[in-house]
């Protein structure tokens, strides 16, 4: 929800980043305030996923110039774990399997690292089980998932629900959900979307990265950004997503050409 005086959570300024010396982001500018839901759309290779990984601090992506500040902190100076503790959450497009590490233990250690940052009491095994049982309801997950290894052998939908479960436990300030809708059937999509809606609060913000309108039917964005060639090309409201759905991305190519012609 857009409100006049809400806090500025994230400010990305002229961000350039590359992977293996290949520039991927070419000057991204974005401001996200508390209470808002943003969606970034764009084709494969437009830089959407890269942006999410750069915010979270993936070591393979090098920031070559520009800045990201989060509640006034220079995010780029922080290790990924410190970004997470501060309240940045990245929901992975392809959640990683970690054989042998129990999901329950993983969730507990992660939750406690965030709680510690917030000066909350850390939870012991028993206390944590009570907490996690409550949160499981949000994503309609069975307790059996807790005793398995992290994401190992989970179906696509189960992995995504496990991501939202982590989001529920970590109570982040800014949640970036990278193609959370991909690979989900309509039921799973609705469960995941309902979870995200339920977790959205006036003091937090959400950044959705998606190809498709169908997620945006479930979670209504306040802003829709179109990304191409490593930049945000256009920003609008939810109607922009609908427009993309009907007319496709050809006009984006046209705009890039025009821009190239002008410069």
């Amino acid at each position: 929800m857009i409100r006049e005086n809400s806090e500025l959570l994230i400010e990305i300024t002229d961000l350039h980043a590359s992977v293996e010396d290949q520039p991927i982001l070419n000057g991204v500018n974005l401001k996200i305030k508390a209470g808002e839901i943003h969606a970034i759309m764009g084709r494969n290779g437009s830089g959407k996923s890269t942006l999410s990984k750069v915010i979270a601090g993936h070591p393979a992506y090098k920031v070559t110039s520009g800045s990201i500040s989060f509640q006034g902190i220079n995010l780029l100076e922080l290790e990924p774990e410190d970004r997470a503790r501060q309240g940045i959450f990245l929901g992975f497009q392809y959640p990683i399997e970690i054989p042998g590490v129990s999901n329950l233990e993983f969730l507990r250690v992660a939750t406690n690292s965030r709680r510690k940052q917030l000066s909350h009491e850390e939870l012991d095994t028993f206390e944590f089980e009570d907490v996690v049982r409550e949160k499981l309801k949000i994503v309609q997950m069975d307790e059996a998932f807790l005793n398995r290894s992290v994401n190992e052998g989970f179906s696509g939908g189960e992995k995504k629900r496990n991501e939202i479960l982590q989001m529920a436990l970590l109570e982040p300030m800014v949640s970036i959900l990278d193609e959370t809708d991909s690979g989900l059937d309509i039921d799973a999509l609705q469960i995941v979307a309902a979870g995200v809606n339920k977790l959205a609060k006036a003091e937090t913000a959400t950044l959705l990265i998606t190809h498709y309108q169908r997620l945006l039917n479930e979670i209504t964005p306040d802003f829709v950004h179109v990304m191409a060639a490593g930049k945000i090309l256009k920003t609008g409201n939810k109607d922009l997503a609908l427009e993309l759905e009907t007319s496709g991305y050809e006009w984006v190519d046209q705009e890039i050409k025009n821009e190239a012609g002008n410069s």
Partner: protein, 480 residues
Amino acid sequence: MANQTSVAEIVSEPYKYGFVTDIETEKIAKGLSEEVIHLISAKKQEPKFLLDFRLKSYRQWLKMKEPNWAELKYPPIDYQDIIYYAAPKQNEKKSSLSEVDPKLLETFDKLGIPISEQKRLSNVAVDAVFDSVSIATTYKEKLAEHGVAFCSISEAIVEYPELIEKYLGSVVPFSDNFFAALNSAVFSDGSFVYIPKGVDCPMELSSYFRINSGDIGQFERTLIIAEEGSSVSYLEGCTAPMFDTNTLHAAVVELIALNDSSIKYSTVQNWYSGNEKGIGGIYNFVTKRGHCRGKRSKISWSQVETGSAITWKYPSCILQGDQSIGEFYSVALTNNKQKADTGTKMIHIGENTRSTIVSKGISAGQSSNSYRGLVQIGPKASGAKNYSQCDSMLIGDQAEANTYPYIRSQQPESSIEHEASTCRISEDQLFYLQSRGIGFEEAVSMMVSGFCRDVFNQLPMEFAAEADKLLALKLEGSVG
């Protein structure tokens, strides 16, 4: 941004047990000869059969060659430059712990193995071996009430000569291999366990081996006998001070399981492994073998091998009794210049015998870590089954992992399964954990301990957490 520290950098933790106890030690002169063997035997006031056993072994050893088939390269060992007997000086035989030199008790306290009456572990009986001799064995009386004998092998030679004569060398013959022959000639002390018929040993038994002197070799000898229908769980731990020379450790362990008995033998080996350049450290050449002599008997080996410059060790099971079971669960972690060549042999002789092998090797630094295992199914072992799983984890890009599984079957009615995998801790896995607020170091240690879970689950409860901590320590470093 990102990590200033690589995984390889954090897998180094200073060795915590590297101190030397300043205590007066009685040592014999360097070198090995028949005279030295006479001297050792005389010091221990041994019966004649044992002296003969030693001499026979020594003469055999002289004819043998040091094995060189393992993935281990090390400078030649000068066997005449080693002291074969060293013992802390103390007054004659101790009747109670209060008479043991407090410095020795303190040493074991410092190692986390308290043996004094007030501090000893509840429910774990400990035999503490310092250089060549056993210092103390706790809970002896309590165990005796159940008919369980748990003492140093030197005492057993005096008190149970008939058991020693019957079983010593019956599983690992003195001529078995170069290091076993050497051990049989010069072994100084070690633990002895006898569990009578039908008795479930009421406590965990544990031996703790401590090398203190730099120029001695430690040659301990352990013998465990489980009579019909009995069971026991035994754990050994080892540490040594840091010296810039290499110290030889050549142990022999023999287990005998009769009908319906079971022996669980766990090792947490943390000998000094040398510095990051590979200087110093223990050469660990060990022959461990269990004989499932009886029907439906079971022998289970679990080992967590983290120390030593060189490890050469293949705890094995001879599955002679029908329906007997052999197990081997191993975690071997090597770092810096450490080299480990370890595995098992499962020799199926009886019908419907079963064996399970789970081996997890973790190689970091410039270390080399090899699994070497033999599964042999004899012509009479119809219905025999084996399952083997050998997984390797590489940390950094300079470490080496090898797997050498040997399979020989002379029995068509048998089944052998072998699975193997090699993995590397991936950047994506680390990033995933980090992006949930879990620190880099903790993430690595979480994944390593996850990798080893199948083996840790096999350790006695009191020590599973200990082993987990030990690995975490080894992987802990300079982050932050």
